[in-house]
Subunit: 314 residues, 2 copies
């Protein structure tokens, strides 16, 4: 075996870039990477929530994005799904497909990946590396107290519709990236979305339905309303926050469009009793109604019908 | 949205080809696909074993292989890892990357996938579909009684080295496929490897180490010996079974080479006390020795040193 062959060896690559003992010392990890499978002890009295998402170069992230941002972002997308269920992160597995061995890229990728893994206290427990077009497939598992996982399907007529921050930054960041910008708050959000794990946990027993916004606010609100028995919603135009740091500089109409239709936000969208206080950092945008469809009311009460169109990943 | 757009919609594709209620009614599945994550109840008093493997077209399977065989094979590869841990299959997630929507292909793929899922009693609980070069990434989870998972690391000097069948058919099947053959026992094995789940369960508390053969017998034996503290092995040439159905027609020397070096077998390779009976259908090939390295003894006791070379997936 030559040195070049060695550099291509899956086992060596995994050891060199992904075997960091500190990162495997997660809760219930009896055996991490290196065997046919990981051995894990699920926490007693809890259920598990599991998600898996594949991110492809030039489809879900720019191929020339910093490797550390690719690592961070691909894990963030999966953690956001766990947040939407109210989960406490436990373990993840990583299938990495690489066109060739690029050690600088791998070093950066693992750095960004583990930066978020450490923040979120989630342990890498297995996976594989194969050769092919650049793709990152992550499966992530969290725990929730039995019966307390948040779902899309529990919204009720009269519930308040709330969102975990100012939407629109994900798509704006992508647009700015495509225009050649490499700095700024929207670009930061695009490169390193922040999964709202603490908010998701706080919403257990409070939110009646929850989803993370990946396709766009209206599109994902449509998923909640459809899953909750075909309900509708009225959003208040005046409730959409303006002048946030990330959307600053955009005309008001564009800010509204980005907030309603933009995707890739990875903020939580949820419904809760209208009598409950809105959690800190969140906005109440409207109300669940019995009449199907999405309606936007302006400050004079005039109603516009909206389409639940968003970004189709496929 | 045009009809063409509808055909590309991830949600519709998942509903059409992967939402079959019977397949989600697995043990502990509280919520299957359709939300941000699945909700699952792990069996009490058990540990979990988790694996993830990505199979790429023209790297791990021929792109022109029958879609139903692709579905079967990609799940089989992952179940074989669970078998090597002694696991009882529970749940899997599927990330499918497709160059374009080909409904006939999807129909076949899901048919083959669910044929094995049903055989193995494993439930599809989530995943995603994205557009890109054909790839199948599966994460699979099994349960094992706490403390009873099989590992690579427990082989002891004097243990018998056993294998769950006649190795070599995987690589022979690939060779025959490349020569244009589409029928025969080796081709069948290549298209639809049979994960040895029942053998894995039977080996709990009996095998001291276990691995599934994907890189080749010698290479995977090398993994066991390395993980067990740097031990060695002596294999008996006369113990290699000849004239099996799958290798019939090959010269004797070629049969030996295929058995020792071929990959993609997905049979279990394990060590156990030399005093225990060899399980039905299995072969005892040799003995674990203190001296590092792999040695092959012919019927006259002459020793040849072997290289632990096998197929490198990357």
């Amino acid at each position: 075996m030559t040195d070049t062959d060695k550099a291509l060896d899956e086992f060596s690559l995994i050891r060199r870039y992904f075997h960091r003992d500190a990162h495997f010392a997660g809760p219930g990890v009896e055996l991490g990477p290196g065997d046919d499978a990981a051995i894990l002890s699920p926490p007693a009295g809890q259920q598990l929530v599991m998600t898996q998402d594949t991110c492809l170069a030039d489809r879900h992230f720019p191929a020339d994005m910093d490797a550390s941002d690719v690592g961070y972002r691909c894990l963030a997308v999966n953690l956001s799904d766990l947040a939407a269920m109210g989960g406490e992160p436990l373990w993840f597995l990583l299938s990495l497909t690489l066109p060739a061995v690029d050690e600088a890229w791998l070093e950066g990728f693992s750095k960004g990946l583990f930066a978020l893994a450490d923040e979120a206290s989630i342990a890498l427990v297995g996976g594989d590396i194969t050769r092919g077009p650049l793709a990152v497939s992550i499966q992530a598992t969290a725990s929730v107290p039995t019966g307390q996982a948040l779902r899309r399907s529990g919204a009720r007529v009269g519930d308040a519709i709330c969102v975990g921050g100012v939407t629109g930054a994900g798509v704006l960041g992508l647009q700015q990236w495509q225009q050649g910008l490499r700095n700024g708050p929207a670009i930061d959000h695009f490169r390193r979305p922040q999964p709202q794990l603490a908010l998701g946990r706080a919403l257990r027993g409070q939110a009646t339905a929850c989803i993370d916004i990946s396709d766009g606010l209206l599109s994902d609100l449509g998923h909640i309303l459809a899953a909750s028995g075909g309900l509708g919603a009225r959003l208040e135009e005046a409730a959409l926050p303006l002048g946030s740091e990330t959307l600053a500089g955009c005309p008001v109409d564009e800010q509204r469009r980005l907030q309603l239709q933009g995707g890739d936000d990875y903020l939580l969208l949820f419904t809760q009793s209208a009598h409950l206080p809105v959690p800190p950092g969140c906005y109440r945008l409207g109300t669940v109604e019995e009449q199907a469809g999405l309606r936007l009311a302006d400050s004079d009460g005039r109603i516009t019908t909206l389409q639940a169109s968003g970004w189709q990943h496929f």
